[in-house]
């Protein structure tokens, strides 16, 4: 598992602000302030602090993947040989933009990633590229089908009570 990051303490209002921004990162400071019962300057200062401490790292756009021509998304799980060169595998993944979220893993797979493709033919091509990497024992492909249920608001952001 990852190194212990220095954990940032947030309070109930920070938690509220973060949840508002998870729903819509473009909401005005004034709006957020109204909902949390604080001034927009307070919101600004809190958001600034969260950015400086690395809790907030930016904002992500969610748009229909079809607009970008990506009609296929697949998760791939890989089993590696014991002598596999993991950094080489990571390097390969970073050189191909449609190979996203590469990560070593524990449990069913040794390595996981997500592949975006315009169609199934392209998906096959890309999976083949991965299969041919040295050190890869087995590749399992799970194509996402239907509309995924995305529930990002469901994240629990632990905070310190009181104040």
């Amino acid at each position: 598992m990852s190194k212990m990051n220095s954990i940032v303490e947030i309070d109930q209002i920070d938690n509220q602000i973060l949840h508002i921004l998870i729903q819509d990162a473009r909401r005005s400071l004034k709006d957020i302030g109204k909902e949390c019962g604080i001034s927009s300057v307070s919101v600004l200062n809190r958001v600034k602090r969260l950015r400086e401490l690395g809790v907030i790292t930016g904002a992500t756009l969610f748009a229909s993947l079809d607009t970008f021509g990506f009609h296929v998304v697949a998760s791939i799980g890989m089993e590696l040989d014991s002598d596999a060169n993991v950094s080489q595998i990571f390097r390969f993944f970073s050189e191909h933009t449609y190979l996203v979220e590469p990560s070593t893993s524990l449990g069913k797979y040794d390595f996981q990633a997500v592949i975006y493709a315009e169609d199934l033919t392209k998906l096959n091509e890309r999976v083949d590229l991965v299969k041919r990497l040295p050190g890869i024992k087995r590749v399992v492909v799970s194509v996402w089908s239907g509309i995924p249920c995305l529930n990002f608001e469901n994240i629990n952001l632990p905070f310190k009570e009181g104040k």
């Binding site: 756009l61 998760s75 893993s105 797979y109 799970s142 249920c149 990002f152």
Partner: protein
């Protein structure tokens, strides 16, 4: 004549400016319309209008803040690989699973498993709790899992890079919109 023009506007598919706007937003979804306008060579008013239009047409779903969950005590993400009992109601199971604490994604998959679930986890105990809760869902035959030590929320930065680049190349392939 007015009605004809209105129709033509309606059929205007996502054009070059739209893709340039999307490309900038993929890089940073909180960029102001003024900043985006400077980068794409349009007025802030145009950017705002096109942004709202893309939202209305379901091209843009929304913008979410990106968080490093590691700073809040999370250590990674667990993926549940679920096999369902044959001939069951998938939607029942999907609803149940998506309501489990911290479950962020539930998707149907075509492959060796029927469903995939993703939930960030804080420690070993939270993996155990997640597995126990998942096994209580209706129609579950088998639950396997895999854990990664990635703590990006909601998705990792290379997802944004990929879409930003793709958007930019689509924009470059399109002709300039008529002024």
């Amino acid at each position: 004549m007015k009605i004809l023009i209105f129709h033509l506007k309606r059929e205007n598919n996502t054009n070059k400016t739209d893709y340039l706007i999307l490309s900038e937003l993929e890089r940073d979804a909180a960029l102001s319309f003024v900043d985006i306008a400077k980068k794409v060579g349009a007025t802030p008013c145009t950017v705002k209008r096109r942004f709202e239009r893309m939202k209305k047409e379901g091209i843009i779903f929304g913008c979410r803040v990106s968080i490093d969950l590691g700073k809040l005590g999370y250590q990674g993400k667990t993926f549940l690989l679920i096999t369902l009992t044959p001939n069951c109601s998938k939607s029942e199971t999907i609803t149940y699973l998506s309501n489990i604490k911290n479950v962020l994604i539930v998707t149907q998959t075509i492959g060796p498993y029927d469903l995939m679930v993703m939930a960030p986890i804080t420690d070993l105990e939270s993996i155990q709790i997640l597995l126990e809760n998942a096994r209580k869902a209706p129609n579950i035959q088998r639950v396997e899992f895999s854990c990664v030590n990635n703590v990006d929320f909601p998705v990792s930065p290379n997802y944004r890079t990929m879409l930003s680049e793709k958007s930019h190349s689509i924009a470059n392939a399109k002709i300039d919109p008529q002024k």
